[in-house]
């Protein structure tokens, strides 16, 4: 089938414009891309074509891979008890809270409820990191605990994705064996590739990462563990060795954030139905409120205990989320558990959770004594 160059050119131009606007207005490019996707589909009649589907799927996998690759395992080990407690509560309580909320106020199926609830359990590493950085709090011990808890929250959400239609087969075992094998040999394989073939125009390191990620994602998917889970686990495995090769990570980010991530967020926006949002605005706000309230219930006590200088600030930061939440909701839609209305409601609540808790957190910034 021929590619529709009208929509291709339009989407490419829109991605450039959203990039410029994000710099000019100093707001998130991902949110603008999702907004542009809504406009393209709702007002300009642009449809999602096969190439956009592919790029967006690839983008979702790469974003999940990078989320795994950026997990600081050393940081996790250093604050294991506290970060697992806070991160665990930041996952479990919102999951229960959202399920209770959706069960009480909607007639959604259990799988739709579960998919939407999982999408709203996340915490955004990017938001947490940037807010701490903006207020020059990043080097404090408590900040490292908040970041570690965020990692735990994301790990649990991505493990939790497997709660959607759990089922196991021989591929599941193959996936586990391959991951165990990769933990042992991947650092050495990467070292060998970089030494023997690295830093050339063919960019073999990137090809190797893409091949590993797509291969592992395929096996995870075939093993009923979902491709994004495979990408995330591979990212975690890479986290141990990829930081030694900062230029590889930098190139991976360049490819992801120039092409794949915009495709992912534009497509997510194109899947949002404006009439569905307008008709269910109360539910959107309710989902956001349920996330923030349940994050508060789940983490405030421990934040007060271990981050006593800034319990509300920390709690609000743990209520943020965008990328992993959108990936989870998209997975729920792609698997057929969320219809367009349910997806629109869930993703809009996820997008709002990237903004509202951040603005509240900034009202509770502690002195630089965290």
């Amino acid at each position: 089938m021929a590619v529709d160059l009208y929509s291709t050119a339009l989407i490419a131009a829109v991605v450039v414009v959203t990039g410029i606007l994000s710099i000019r207005l100093r707001i998130s490019s991902s949110i603008l891309e999702a907004g542009a996707g809504i406009m393209l589909a709702s007002f300009l009649g642009v449809r999602i074509e096969a190439w956009l589907d592919f790029l967006a799927t690839f983008g979702g996998l790469m974003l999940t891979f990078l989320a795994g690759a950026e997990v600081d395992l050393y940081l996790l080990r250093n604050s294991a008890k506290k970060s697992f407690t806070i991160g665990g509560m930041a996952f479990v309580v919102p999951l229960i809270g959202e399920i209770v909320f959706l069960s009480a106020f909607t007639d959604w199926s259990f799988l739709a409820t579960l998919a939407a609830s999982l999408a709203l359990t996340t915490t955004s590493v990017a938001v947490v990191y940037s807010v701490l950085l903006e207020y020059e709090l990043l080097d404090h011990k408590a900040s490292k605990l908040i970041i570690a808890a965020t990692f735990v929250n994301d790990i649990l959400t991505l493990i939790g994705i497997n709660l959607i239609s759990p089922s196991f087969n021989l591929y599941t075992i193959a996936f586990l064996v391959i991951i165990a094998f990769m933990i042992l040999v991947l650092p050495r394989m990467l070292e060998y590739l970089v030494d023997s073939y690295g830093k050339r125009a063919v960019e073999l390191e990137l090809r190797f990462i893409f091949a590993c990620m797509l291969g592992v994602s395929f096996i995870a998917d075939a093993g009923r563990l979902h491709a994004v889970f495979g990408a995330f686990v591979l990212g975690l495995v890479f986290a141990n060795c990829i930081h030694s090769y900062s230029d590889i990570l930098s190139k991976t980010r360049s490819v992801t954030f120039s092409l794949l991530s915009p495709a992912f967020f534009v497509r997510a926006g194109m899947l949002i139905s404006l009439p569905a949002i307008a008709q269910n605005i109360g539910l959107v706000i309710g989902l956001l409120g349920a996330k923030m309230l349940s994050k508060f219930i789940g983490t405030y006590y421990f934040n007060k205990k271990w981050i006593s200088e800034a319990p509300i600030f920390s709690t609000m930061l743990l209520s943020t989320g965008l990328t992993v939440g959108t990936i989870t909701a998209t997975l729920g839609r792609d698997l057929g558990f969320l219809d367009q209305t349910q997806f629109s409601i869930a993703v809009t609540a996820v997008i709002l959770s990237a903004v509202v808790p951040t603005l509240i957190a900034k009202r509770f910034v502690p002195n630089r004594t965290l």
Binding site: I20, R26, S29, I31, S250, S261, F265, T358
Partner: protein
């Protein structure tokens, strides 16, 4: 009644990036600081969007690289223009919206003067990228000097 001493310059904030004109900024600021025996705070700001929502908006590694570049550039220019003179100097790398950070830092330390440069943008670039120096001139509570 206020005397001339009340209008002295005791603290100077030098806002610099890594561009060519930062040399002019540091040189002008040090000349004033020496004349007034003022304390100098050299700052550089790693720009961050006001609203960050995803990893696409913030590159942790890129930020670390920028921090290092700023620190090295600050050190090089301070060493070059200090040249054995007796001046009290502090240097910092901050993060966030550049104009807000420069203004809030100046307020925090009670600065008397901010010295900074200004990029020569064309009309379209100015429309798209805005101007940090314009913001600072408009909103700072103390005097601002644009070095050219």
């Amino acid at each position: 009644m206020q005397s001339l001493e009340d209008y002295g310059i005791n603290k100077i904030v030098v806002a610099m990036d890594t561009s060519d004109y930062s040399e002019m900024v540091v040189a002008r600021a040090f000349t004033i600081a020496i004349a007034f025996s003022a304390r100098v705070h050299v700052i550089s700001v790693v720009g961050l969007p006001k609203l960050i929502a995803s990893e696409a908006d913030i590159g942790i590694q890129d930020i670390r690289i920028s921090e290092k570049e700023f620190q090295e550039h600050q050190k090089r220019l301070i060493d070059k223009y200090l040249n054995g003179r007796d001046l009290h100097i502090e240097s910092h790398v901050l993060h966030g919206d550049p104009s807000n950070k420069i203004i809030s830092y100046a307020n925090e330390i009670g600065a008397d003067l901010i010295v900074m440069g200004s990029k020569a943008y064309g009309k379209i670039q100015r429309l798209l990228l805005g101007g940090v120096s314009e913001d600072v001139v408009r909103n700072a509570k103390c005097s601002v000097m644009i070095a050219r």
